[in-house]
Amino acid sequence: MSVQQTDKKIVEVTNLTVGYGKNVVLRDINFSVNTGEIFVILGGSGCGKSTLLKHLIGLYQPFVGDVLIFGENIVTAGETQKSLLMRRFGVTYQSGALFGSLTLAENVALPLEEYTRKSPAEIDTIVREKLRLVDLSGFEDYLPAEISGGMKKRAGLARAMALDPTLLFFDEPSAGLDPITSAELDRLILRLRRELDTTIVIVTHELDSVFTVSDRVIMLDDDTKGIIAEGTPEALRKHSANPWVREFLNRSNMKRKQA
């Protein structure tokens, strides 16, 4: 492996075993994400996708293994170092995770207020721009409780992008969105990569968007508690040795043909 290739790795996971209490959810996971890549984590419901994501971003301590982000080990990092590292990437959560006591604009403005020296007017401009990106113009002053689930997801995206991070983690960004908004989200993801060279790690169920946006996917499995397939979605769909993987990825084709 050449030095150049290792340098390009923005997330690197080695021998990761994760779980809760005594219960192992995933065992001995190895993979890496290259800079500028759109990387998708697939798998059935409850197989541990969100769990894996939360360990990647350093929220939970894994049983064993290492996670390198931007070349720094987030597993062994101290409190301060970890929080500095965390600021450099954006995350959206499956449930949106907006702060209930703040309006959408305040939610998006929070990281800007905390970490930049921008004036309130500048912040306001950025906030409006981010909310426009996710199609939420005009909802600046709404509280999270006053908008729909899909809108919360999109507002979460806007907040994750507030500081223009070069690495983004999305947990099921398109679940609960209508097909048109979902397609727009895919276009937004592609544009972020094209214009800002952002690396994006996505957990998703939406096969349509997997085929549209992803460069590479890994597929997690409940029974083996590990990765059962890795590669480009097209190659896996056609040539995977595992029939379950082929079937999972072909579902979207069936759906498309019927439509």
Binding site: K54, Y93, S95, G96, F99, S101, L110, E114, G156
Partner: protein, 273 residues
């Protein structure tokens, strides 16, 4: 299948073992949380600009202004009840005027701070636990951490500051209401002239007595806010979990408030106050 049998000695010992493990874990968590909180409070003292003032004011309103009517009413009634019970006994000896002493000391040293603490536990402590627990379910706490923002500074410090400021103030109001309750009994039931009762109260009560009550209320405020927040952070990730966290916050707070009251009372008397 497990058969139901009479509990044996073994079960009993096992039960005690389990319970003590739980208590030990609980104490360890509490110490860890207090340490963490102390560090954050020290950090805040050095960087006062990092205080979230808007949230702090919101909680001051919630725990302070909005609690005032109930505090006044409960403390007035406490004074009334206390005065009545004392009056019945004192009348037997013809020493009615001592009702003023009894009510004054009890309210200022004990019942004022304690009643305010009980009300704050029910109103604020439970609200803190429920709020933080719900935020945990919504992954909001995770979101704060990954934004590099300390949940301690964002969620606990505003609540703690609000409680530390409002509880002593509420206690002052509660004290006054309680004394008025005692006076009501003195004037109506014992036919003492208002000015006599008033003078007697002023004569026996010293600023120290009043201050000791305030010291207690500050300690109670710290306990209630810390335990409410801690139980919120410990809440399990579902709706029932939040409910249990709230209940536990109230029960634990009441327990520790009473324990702290006992310790402080002993301490004060040893120190000769």
């Amino acid at each position: 299948m497990k058969k139901k049998t009479m509990p044996t000695l073994r079960d009993f010992v096992e039960g005690i073992g389990k319970a003590s493990t739980i208590i030990r874990c609980d104490c360890r968590d509490m110490i860890a949380f207090t340490g963490d909180l102390t560090l954050t409070l020290l950090f805040i003292c050095r960087h006062p600009g990092k205080i979230r003032w808007r949230e702090t004011l919101y909680y001051m309103d919630l725990c302070g202004s909005q609690a005032l009517p109930i505090v006044l009413m409960i403390c007035y009634l406490m004074g009334l009840i206390l005065g009545f019970q004392a009056a019945v006994q004192m009348q037997k000896f013809g020493t009615e005027i001592f009702v003023a002493d009894l009510v004054g000391f009890s309210i200022l040293k004990e019942l004022g701070p304690l009643m305010v603490a009980m009300i704050a536990t029910g109103r604020a402590g439970s609200a803190f636990a429920a709020e933080i627990g719900t935020m945990k379910v919504n992954e909001e706490i995770d979101a704060l951490s990954t934004m590099g923002l300390s949940p301690m500074r964002f969620l606990v410090v505003p609540k703690m500051l609000a409680m530390l400021v409002t509880m002593p103030v509420l206690t002052v109001f509660g004290d006054v209401a309680g004394l008025l309750g005692g006076m009501t009994v003195g004037v109506t039931m014992l036919d003492l002239p208002m000015v006599v009762y008033y003078n007697r109260t002023i004569e026996v009560l010293s600023p120290t007595v009043f201050n000791l009550g305030l010291v207690k209320s500050v300690v109670f405020a710290f306990l209630i806010a810390a335990i409410g927040c801690m139980r919120g952070f410990q809440s399990e990730n579902d709706a029932q979990g939040v409910g249990r966290a709230t209940t536990s916050a109230v029960v634990t707070s009441i327990f520790w408030v009473v324990v702290a009251d006992a310790i402080l009372t002993m301490l004060f008397s040893v120190l000769g106050f």
